[in-house]
């Protein structure tokens, strides 16, 4: 009986470890600035004397049927591979709807509205962890048309291109543009997914790559050169030591470090952590909370953690 209980418990633990899953990144297709510019979907505004052009995605999605076709086709093929994408048009509609609902919402008891800081408002944009940036151009040589197709997978936090597929299809005199577009997607999507898979394999082997920012409030009397502990070590060095101990194989790069800020790139965080004997998925927020706890408990520095999606965190030192 005892043996059976031990066997059952180990089976249960094994199962819970086995089914522990990493946080799945979100992916969204976005037309590139080049495509928006070529097709006239840009907004211009005067920013203190400088004319700035930004893409008008809403107009593009409302007016360009080819764009909808391409997005729909790629969405369908990615869903087929078990990786459904966020649909940009739906995200934008949800944002508008939620914004209107939030404005009307009030507490039943006190009449208070939902609190929202300016930074909360700024964060209300269509976003995803990985952006599939889409560009195509129609090439015309006499009566023949061909499509040059370029699909780039961009990590929203590290700004790295993590997947790609690009090329020019065969010229045709008879095929219409939507047909050529469809053919281009069929020809390129596997190569895109193959490079995306390489990125995921790297993620599972070497941990998720994130960006970590540390800043100080200007009213804090300390800085990153202040010395702490028995060895009188600088705060910046202590933070680097913590990162070396807690990243996968001690991997991180200190991109910038001054007395007021530290900026770390290529920080490889583990995909899982253990809590109550169970493996749980680690995300940037959880990782940054670990550093935040170290600063608060060991060095008595009060701090505030903010995160952006799965890959970016900022810790402000001095107060909440």
């Amino acid at each position: 009986m005892r043996k059976f209980v031990i066997f059952f418990c180990s089976l249960l633990m094994g199962t819970s470890m086995m089914f522990s899953q990493a946080k799945k990144p979100t992916i969204m297709i976005v037309p590139s600035d080049v495509w928006c510019n070529i097709n006239g979907y840009m907004m211009e505004f005067d920013n203190q004397g400088t004319v700035v052009k930004i893409p008008n995605y809403k107009k593009a999605l409302q007016e360009n049927a080819d764009l909808l076709l391409v997005i729909s086709k790629i969405n369908g093929m990615m869903a087929e591979r078990g990786f459904p994408l966020k649909n940009m048009e739906s995200v934008m509609k949800s944002l508008e709807k939620n914004s209107a609902e939030d404005a009307m919402m009030s507490s039943k008891d006190s009449g208070a509205s939902a609190s929202e800081s300016p930074i909360d408002q700024l964060k209300k944009v269509a976003k995803a962890d990985i952006i599939m940036q889409l560009t195509w151009t129609v090439n015309k040589t006499g009566p023949r048309n061909s499509i040059t197709f370029n699909l780039q997978g961009l990590d929203s936090y590290t700004d790295k291109q993590i997947a790609t597929a690009a090329g020019t299809g065969a010229p045709s005199t008879s095929a219409e543009i939507p047909l050529l577009l469809e053919e281009a997607i069929l020809a390129h999507i596997d190569n895109f997914n193959s490079t995306l898979m390489t990125h995921f394999e790297d993620l599972f082997t070497n941990g998720r790559e994130i960006v970590l920012n540390l800043k100080k409030w200007d009213d804090w009397d300390g800085d990153f050169e202040s010395e702490y502990g028995e060895d009188s070590e600088e705060l910046g060095v202590l933070i680097e030591d913590w990162l070396a101990d807690n990243t996968v194989q001690g991997r991180y790069s200190t991109t910038d470090a001054t007395e007021n800020m530290m900026f770390f790139e290529q920080v490889r965080i583990p995909l899982y952590y253990e809590r109550n004997g169970k493996q749980r998925a680690m995300d940037t927020r959880r990782f940054a909370r670990g550093l935040s706890k170290f600063l608060k408990d060991e060095l008595k520095i009060i701090n505030k953690v903010t995160t952006k999606g799965l890959g970016q965190a900022t810790i402000y030192l001095g107060s909440k």
Partner: protein, 175 residues
């Protein structure tokens, strides 16, 4: 007279047995060639959704064997070799297997998968092996042929099968 009858029967049996023996030898050799990557694949165009349209060049002393082996080579190539792009809007495609040692690591699975008339046939949509054009049957040595057969491979179903069997990882596995 009795000896003559015996001889005739013997010769008759030999005449039946020898070609089938030779056929078996050619088939065995063709299977070895597949496992030794002795075949070539070229892209024939963008296939319909979920498929690859490729031409597989196989080698054999017998054109019939080479034509039959094309199906196995096509699936083997899509899994382990990939193919180069070129004309007709073809783009190069990487193999489904991302590990070059995969065959040896999962030998049991693949040996059964690639058996003659095995599971691999499920992923062949269509071939032109019944009407191979003359220019696709090349005599490269005395009694040695290189035969090109166009094959449509159902790569989406093939990928799903390999993912389901735990041979390759799916895009979303681990998340």
């Amino acid at each position: 007279m009795r000896n003559l009858v015996k001889l005739s029967v013997f010769l008759f049996l030999v005449s039946i047995a020898l070609p089938s023996q030779a056929q078996r030898r050619s088939k065995r050799k063709a299977n070895e060639d597949t496992m030794n990557w002795k075949y070539e694949i070229e892209c024939m165009g963008v296939g319909v959704e979920g498929t690859y349209l490729i031409k597989v060049w196989s080698y054999s002393k017998k054109t019939k064997v080479a034509m039959a082996q094309a199906k196995k080579n096509a699936i083997h190539g899509v899994i382990f070799k990939g193919f180069l792009g070129g004309v007709d809007g073809c783009t190069s495609q990487k193999p489904l297997a991302r590990n070059s040692n995969l065959f040896n690591e999962r030998k049991d699975y693949f040996e059964s998968f690639f058996e003659d008339n095995g599971k691999f046939l499920q992923f062949i949509n269509a071939t032109n092996d019944g009407s191979v054009p003359v220019q696709d049957v090349l005599k490269i040595k005395k009694r040695y042929y290189k035969v090109g057969v166009i094959v449509s491979v159902n790569k989406d179903q093939l990928r799903k099968e390999l993912e389901k069997a735990g041979i390759i990882r799916g895009l979303s596995s681990g998340f």
